[in-house]
Subunit: 489 residues, 4 copies
């Protein structure tokens, strides 16, 4: 289930190098380029050079060389909306040349014994381990999540690598007894060929890891399109993988990676050379991708929206619950698919939990995600900040006839509710008292906004929990085993 | 993992039929014999005819025919110590002839596709289902457990049959990726050939089911030796299996069964034709069997003694605990390997649980296990009853220096403690207050005797629980999930 | 993965019974109806009464009673295009009432322990076993496949039942070690609720078995829509299942079944109460179903077209290959998704295999599928027969520039090629010599038409094999292990 | 399944340090010792310092420190029977102190989450990787196998580490559906505590890897006793593991390791603190270990003798077969449990295979295993060489009545048959023509002696293959799939 990253190298400055050149030559040029490249605008970005990034970067790795003939975009720091570096995205031609090489490389990769593929993935894990700090720092810088989370995300791929190495010796087929004498059936797992991975801005590298590590040990090449707003992470991660492939004299095209937008995403969805597409992002786009992939009889793995609840029962450890809710609702600035968006409190402890929560919300340190002590970084883009503000307006206006006592005139904002005046995209962590029936509650507002609701019985809590269309993950705080086991089914 | 049951038929009355005769002829004679055979001593035993038993029975099924040239023994009703019927056990020659045929039949049976073997096991399940009431009744009559338990035991084999049928299509081997290019490894499960099953009196048919159902679908023949005191169950069960084999034109020797004592058991343990021996019984004998089997590089499955505890925590549902303890300590008259022998009560609820327990113990109806309403039948043999009496003497005398308050002069009998005057082997259900350190507590008294002990902390309770050499199963009553998960590890 | 079958009974003749009545009453009426119902048009259909069918039948089982308010259709015998019996299909209202009850029954069914659900499936298997001959005969009669295949199809569900019974004790969740101390993760399988099963005419009951047996043990209710041209099989199968549910005092709505056409199929695809839809049929319709189901975030299991090849290598056992090709190409009159449509012969044995094949094709006995000795029954409908004739025209006309020697002016018909003059839908088994590149070869003609092609190398054969869009199953005849293992990957 | 290695440091030279001292102090002393320690006798042994070995070494790692109070032994180079270095073995007191600490450490280790234990094993793998060349060289030097095999053996543990890391996230328990409503069963894997590993001279480190890697991720401490003749490997391997434990601030006692002989082996077998003992070695000793372990209700994993055959069918690729036989019979100087000892040749190709084999045997380069090009190193000890000579005498004398043509007066030596005059333990690779019925063929002569035999049918070959008591691995050379699948069952 993995993909190849193939990059036909074309020097964007020296335009006379017009045709693909050999890997060894391109590497030579590449190393050269590293030395002459200009400095970053800010000194604090200099660490990016340690993971192969410069102020200008080619955004696609195709056929084992770096190239880029699409639009030049700027990677923005969400803490101040200033540029970090420039990236030349993939053009349609880049995509096509990359895919051709990837398709060829797939024939090579699937012939390599699974345990040997596992060894490559092990080396990728080790290469990531060596650059854990820098990669984690870049995730914080470009995506906006706090440093601990940035490093944690890179660690997650490392763990996936370790796990996948073990799996590389367990991809067993079956020998099945037949009901006919002297017959038996053999069942084997053959690689699909190429796996397409389209990831979102909020987990710009962990999600790649889940997909690519398994795909690679399974004998599949990987084609990756990262989010258009996190191109530096896409490039840095790809450089790590590319380095390992090159060191092992394997075609770089085994891992093909494109910086780009919807056009590249659609190309992947339509491409019959890619039997499986893994997509992470909004339900709306996910549905479109699935439709396109299915029409050509391809398969999809979708990781879409969530609207997750935490239920706190009357016997819960309230301190533990409050701490967990804070982490679940405010972490990654509410931009996880698993962010807790709805808090269901038993009426008997409703006020106590709420009081505790308001207390801890006050102490949340907002600011530069790279600074130690920061708990809440900025939203990823200026547009996300505006979306937050629009969402707050809707919350306030939303009338709700079912739950009159609490919200006759819309949701009541208990804390937060405003964007923060600054160069960056910072907003206040927000708690809203609202009816479970309000329409806005059924939608996914990708920001640190938590809806609190009251319930009387477990049955009612489970019904509220299940009353939204998205679902994904839910939690419950209780000490009662009978409730726990009812909860999990 | 299955065995063959082979019986060379010899008519014990008409001695001039001296040589083995063909199956079809023997069946004819058998049916004839059924009609002319004398009646049982008691009218209430007449139902045994419906499952192929008479007042005199041949005790070995070898090579597909019934025979028996060993000693004639009498099956005894433990409720009144009177005879039920006679059985001629297997002689050493019977064993050898049976094993020869079984060894031959193994070659046939392992060639039959696993799903077809599953179909045979399915038919065995259906044949048992048709005689569930009679077989359950026989288990109660000959072993002494109450009717619900007798029927439950037969149902357990039926369930095993259903389960094994499903398994017969899942005995998959593996195709394992090699680290060498163009190589792969195939791993297949081949039948062992013959599985020996030696069962005990307390579960005279369920334990056969666990072993034989799996063995048969795995392609192994089965050689079964039941307990010497439950020969009628051995014969009745074998007749069910034999009937299915014969109906499907398969060699009866696929399932070979011997009534007999230690001599047959030793023969099985020593027999190099039996690569796997499953033994259920005492730790002492089990150890001897294992040693013998291992010396010839055979494998053993042992199901030996237990000395099980129930821990009741301070937050437990006391009513539920008391009911469960009653069932666990008194059920099957304390003759299960999983019988609860030690009750560990938290000091804060010690007296309340004890009071409840003494109350429910008073209501236990003792008597004929076949009568509806009976909760406690007789011990299996007169010897077991004497053993109970000896055990009570030891309990009373056992000094214990560690736990002075409770038992300066030995265990204190809170209820029960005596055998009941009657023709049968009935004893009173007994509760003893005693120190966990008393030597007698570390032994397995196979009778309805429950030792109660007090503890203060979970840690202490777990230490007491683990302080006996036998172990097997333990339970805990609590509502706290943290205790539950600590408990299970 | 199971479904409920719910039928609100309304007598279609006595129209004054206008409202749903209770199950017990309806059953009474039903039994009564059986006695007074008119005879079948032909005496040879009388056996259908043994499986609950009459000349007029209600076509939906909803809420545990039989009803039908849609159009009245006639089930046709493909051997003579005469009526077998009439069926009143489900109306949209029938569907809605049935689904409401099914949705309620799902709450009951998922609460029943899995092994108990397995026991219900076991009883269904036994009930089918008791009517194996009649059900198999009905499959032959209404679908048109030969009797051995009809009985084989019913046997397939019986086998699935046995297998599913075993699975009902193996639906294990996982306890996964966490990397956090004192934490662990529990993973459980919860039922989906309702599984929709839409089956095709060619396997009118086996495909139900694959889906329904697993769904039921998994705790899901089943909603079944059979093919519009095999309503009697749908009704007879449903009666078997309904009988078991009723005997066990379970809501009949656990298994809900509708005779009907595209309207009912679309209703299932759109129904948000049905999280999983299993569809078997053409790729075109399957794609539409998938799109509809995906739009509501439902899941699909698709079993669509096939265009299967058999490759015969130069070292193959030619006699074995010829026999197998006959069975694969002519069996079920070429109306299996796994029918062999393309025969790839190594040039060195091309003529020998072809000669053998033409010889065995001559001996194929065509006729009434219920007659012993018949090898080839009719196509399922008059339309299928016309389709065959159109296909033959296209084959003849198809020019092919790549493979001039063989088929300058289209495919060359070596044997067969015509429909047979008769009341039924019989056609000749046909062999066509044609280029692998001819357009018609890439399509699925659902009839006993076999395209033969020549190849020189294994590589070439695999390329031809993979050159059609459908794929599904392929076979190869060879003795060489290196070829076998290359073939399976 | 892992063990602790605990060593209380006592300086063997400075005898006034008589009592155990703390870990930190001992480490200090240890580092000091490294610097002052004398040089090796030969310059070519200097590389041993890179893996922590000196001319004098303490032979037990107990409680996280190095100690040794048993006899001082000398490690011998089998190529010249000269000393490599000295080792002070463990005394009984060392053993007891080590086990006490290991028993305590087990409580810590089993509490560490499995994925964290996996991380430790990953680090062990990396530490081994860093010293692969030196460790492989030591294996060749001390054991006598050629360098490629020495390095291969160390690589095998590295691979095991990688595999075990993956497993550390897959030690899943089960949640099993109960047949009782509202009940479910949880099944978890808890660590055993301590796993004892007793390894043999022929695979002085790979076998440790198989056992220890799995034991450690499973949460078990490891107690290792290596072979008395390969103490340097035991110490070097232990130093690698110890280094990782110390770096992670874990008790060294998690991995406890003893150099020693039968006394230590018996102590492990008897020790009730060690629930599982894995033993590799001769069948005779293995049986004794098993008996001792079983008597205390412990479990055993035995890896004992082998007497493996290669069957070459008439259609085999003879060149491939000859090369494989050479590797299988001569590799590791015939001192593998999987060494091919019997070559079964179909009569039609008997002479051709033999001729080829005699040809390749002539070219086998015998000599120092560390030299490139060497194919056959020395036997491990002088005693093994003498044993070879005795074996050859028996072969020559063994009369065999069944196979008169070939061996009227015993086995006929076709090549080899002598020890080589030298300082080392070199012997000639030997081929013997002999009857399969000769008694000597049924025994395991641990040397490069190959018995060749003729057969006529597959059935006969399989019978000969199965006619020895040991069995373990067998191979077959053929192209026929029907033979292959018959062969594997």
């Amino acid at each position: 289930m993995i993909r190849l990253s193939l990059y036909i190298y074309r020097n964007p400055i020296l335009h006379f190098v017009s045709s693909p050149i050999s890997t060894s030559l391109s590497l030579l040029t590449l190393s050269l380029q590293f030395e002459v490249q200009m400095s970053f605008a800010k000194k604090e970005y200099e660490f990016l050079k340690e993971i192969g990034l410069g102020p200008h970067n080619l955004g696609c790795y195709a056929s084992g060389v770096w190239r880029g003939n699409g639009p030049v975009i700027t990677s923005i720091n969400p803490s101040n909306n200033q540029a970090i570096a420039e990236v030349t995205e993939a053009s349609t031609e880049d995509y096509e040349e990359g895919m051709k090489a990837c398709f060829e490389a797939a024939k090579t990769w699937m012939q390599i014994p699974a345990p040997k593929r596992g060894e490559i993935v092990r080396q990728i894990g080790d290469a990531l381990r060596a650059k854990l700090q820098q990669l984690g720092r870049l995730v914080s810088l470009e995506m906006g999540k706090i440093l601990a989370e940035g490093i944690g995300e890179v660690q997650e791929i490392i763990d996936m690598c370790d796990f996948a190495v073990g799996l590389s010796r367990q991809l067993n087929g079956s020998i099945i007894p037949s009901e006919r004498p002297n017959h038996m059936m053999l069942e084997m797992w053959n690689p699909l060929g190429i796996v397409g991975v389209i990831t979102a801005f909020n987990f710009p590298c962990a999600v790649l890891g889940w997909n690519a590590c398994l795909a690679l040990v399974c004998g599949d090449c990987v084609v990756w399109k990262g989010a258009p707003t996190t191109p530096l992470i896409t490039i840095a991660m790809t450089k790590i993988v590319a380095g390992v492939l090159e060191k092992n004299n394997l075609p770089g095209a085994i891992f093909t990676s494109f910086c780009g937008g919807a056009e590249i995403g659609q190309a992947i969805a339509k491409d019959t050379r890619i039997p499986l597409v893994s997509f992470t992002g909004s339900s709306k786009v996910g549905l479109m991708v699935q439709k396109t992939v299915n029409e050509r009889f391809g398969k999809c793995l979708l990781e879409l929206s969530g609207n997750n609840a935490i239920i706190v029962m009357d016997d819960a450890d309230i301190q533990l619950a409050a701490r967990s809710v804070l982490f679940a609702a405010v972490g990654t600035a509410g931009q996880r698919c698993t962010t807790c968006r709805r808090l269901l409190l038993h009426e008997s402890i409703y006020q106590r939990v709420l009081d505790q929560l308001l207390e801890v919300y006050k102490q949340v340190k907002i600011g530069d995600p790279l600074l130690s002590g920061t708990l809440l970084g900025p939203l990823h883009t200026r547009a996300a900040r505006e979306n937050f503000e629009k969402g707050i307006e809707i919350i306030k206006s939303q009338a709700c006839t079912y739950f009159l006592a609490v919200s006759k005139n819309g949701g009541k904002i208990l804390t937060g509710g405003s964007a923060i005046e600054s160069e960056g995209n910072f907003v206040q962590p927000t708690i809203v008292e609202i009816s479970p029936n309000a329409d806005v509650v059924k939608e996914e507002l990708f920001a640190p906004v938590l809806y609190v609701m009251k319930f009387q019985t477990l049955k009612e809590a489970i019904e509220i929990n299940n009353s939204v269309p998205q679902g994904l993950s839910s939690s419950m705080f209780t000490h009662k085993p009978e409730v726990i086991f009812k909860w999990i089914g």
